[in-house]
């Protein structure tokens, strides 16, 4: 049911690379994206997305009762995070700011990235929008989207019988 509708995350906001995959998964993913992007024209990715503008990593998991979207937003403040829910789309938006106090600074190493970001996740329709909760703790944002009782009921288990 919900599987198809929830999978695609807005393409342009996907992180350009995923370093934590094993090499084979990475290769497969590269191949997939090559084919996926083939027909959508040859517009190159903007330099910003290629070269490390901040784009948070997102996990989306579904259990029987709810869908959970989590995002890693280390060093951000809950005030700088904006979570919006329209009927069928969850959008996480915000800006990761560079600390201002480090003026006249001398960088030895700069691996962290900053900037504004926006990620959208399409949702299946069976979400109880009134009960959606967002929680920001230890740099991880968790959005809990409970399913409507109807949707929970509709999931049926079908017995497989041997003849």
């Amino acid at each position: 049911m919900a599987k198809k509708t929830i999978v695609p995350v807005q393409k342009e906001s996907l992180p350009a690379r995923r370093e934590d995959l094993n090499p084979f998964a990475l290769l497969r993913q590269e191949m997939n994206s090559l084919f996926d992007n083939f027909f959508s024209g040859f517009a190159p990715e903007s330099f910003e997305t290629r070269l490390g503008a901040f784009s948070p990593r997102v996990d989306i998991a579904e259990t029987d009762k709810e869908i959970k979207v989590t995002a890693e937003l280390p060093g951000m403040d809950d005030k700088d995070i904006d979570v919006a829910l329209t009927r069928d789309m969850l959008t996480i938006r915000g800006e990761k700011k560079e600390e201002k106090e480090e003026k006249g600074k001398n960088y030895y190493r700069m691996e962290r990235s900053y900037g504004s970001f926006s990620r959208s996740v399409p949702l299946p329709s069976e979400i109880d929008t009134n009960k959606v909760k967002a929680d920001f703790k230890k740099g991880i944002l968790t959005v809990t989207l409970p399913k409507t009782p109807q949707a929970i009921k509709e999931t049926k288990k079908i017995q497989v019988k041997a003849e």
Binding site: T63, K138, I140
Partner: protein
């Protein structure tokens, strides 16, 4: 290649640094910024999922080790649709020079971001010497 490094937000450690570990968890290398100011050097590390209780900073001779444990509650029989980050512990090791006053190191964690302030040793602080005209 600062740009390449910026691309990596969270990378699995290639081999657990410094010996074997007693926990069978994945270990990630947190990304850091290292900034020098007039009187100190700051290390900022992104470690989502870590709080002040689960982070551990040790100094042994000249080696500064940052480690963080992440305890995640993973519900049973869930289906992952998008899985962009892995959950695991953090570890990273730095070597300090004598420039740093090891007694006065301070660290704080806020919203999954660790900040370590390494004050420069008194003798090595940049000092301005007033130049006087000879009478």
């Amino acid at each position: 290649m600062p740009d390449m490094a910026k691309d990596i937000q969270k990378k699995e450690a290639e081999s657990p640094e410094r010996g074997e570990r007693t926990r069978t968890r994945r270990v990630y290398t947190p990304v850091v910024d290292i900034i020098e100011r007039k009187d100190d050097i700051i290390v900022i590390a992104d470690m989502p999922g870590v709080d002040e209780k689960s982070v551990d900073i040790t100094i042994e001779k000249n080696v500064l080790t940052i480690s963080g444990a992440v305890e995640a509650v993973i519900p049973e029989n869930r289906t992952m649709y998008v899985n962009e980050y892995g959950i695991g512990d953090y570890q990273r090791v730095f070597t300090l020079t004598d420039e740093v006053d090891k007694e006065k190191i301070q660290a704080s964690v806020k919203n999954g971001m660790l900040k370590i302030v390494l004050p420069k040793a008194e003798a090595l602080k940049t000092r301005k010497i007033a130049v006087k005209t000879e009478a």
